[in-house]
């Protein structure tokens, strides 16, 4: 299908201080219904969105972090995470949720959705898109 476009959702903000992160996730889920080639990018404070162990109960906020693990069911399977942004914040891949998807082209084997990339590779990912939506 030639009308499939590459959409990149860019996440650069931490999860709970503003509504951006949660709204981005809402838009991703809506967009997933349109059968486009969707990727997510996490850089700068956006990498904080993916940390595991988020518990918002006492803060009185909705914990939307489990939703990232459901993205695979919507065929959103490419979550690009910038290595330099992790490094700057003292984070490693171990600090992030284990997000997987079932690969229907490979006997539904579970595969990691998170793809750690360098800043230069992230720039390549961005330049490869038809549409870039920022949050």
């Amino acid at each position: 299908m030639s009308d499939v476009k590459k959409f990149l959702y860019v996440n650069r903000k931490a999860p709970y201080g503003t509504i951006y992160a949660q709204e981005a996730l809402e838009v991703v889920l809506i967009g997933a219904a349109f059968d486009q080639d969707v990727s997510l990018a996490f850089l700068d404070d956006g990498v904080f969105q993916l940390t595991k162990g988020q518990d918002t109960k006492d803060a009185g906020l909705k914990n939307f972090s489990p939703t990232f693990r459901a993205l695979g069911d919507y065929e959103v399977t490419k979550l690009y995470v910038e290595q330099e942004s992790l490094d700057e914040r003292g984070l490693t891949l171990d600090d992030l949720q284990d997000i997987q998807y079932e690969d229907e082209d490979d006997d539904y084997n579970e595969k990691p959705s998170i793809i750690v990339v360098s800043r230069a590779q992230m720039a390549d990912v961005m330049a490869d898109q038809d549409v870039v939506l920022s949050f």
């Binding site: 650069r12 850089l43 961005m126 920022s134």
Partner: protein, 102 residues
């Protein structure tokens, strides 16, 4: 193939401009608008950083946002081109994609 990047935050407020310049590809255009225009000024603590990181991209500033803030046109750094809204639209239409850095 090129991208038009827009930045609407002051580089003194956060890292948005730095992040943009760190991801823009050579030949891309970066347009500073709204509070982003403070990143286009010469003679401040960010000027050299912007000039250095922006050496391989084309830097633009939205003129009306400069004048709105009382910034003399002479304070816009060398090599940064002032554009009006019509030219902004033309740039958006002629590039492959627009990426807004919020």
């Amino acid at each position: 193939m090129s991208t038009l990047h827009t930045v609407n935050k002051s580089p003194f407020q956060n890292q948005t401009l730095i992040s943009c310049l760190g991801h823009a590809k050579p030949g891309d255009s970066v347009l500073l608008l709204e509070d982003g225009v403070y990143g286009a000024m010469s003679g401040n603590a960010m000027s050299e950083v912007v000039a250095g990181m922006g050496a391989n991209v084309k830097l633009f500033v939205l003129g009306s946002d400069v004048t709105a803030r009382g910034i003399d046109a002479g304070r816009v750094a060398e090599g940064i081109t002032s554009v009006n809204y019509e030219e902004f639209v033309g740039m958006a239409a002629s590039c492959d994609r627009v990426q807004n850095w919020l």
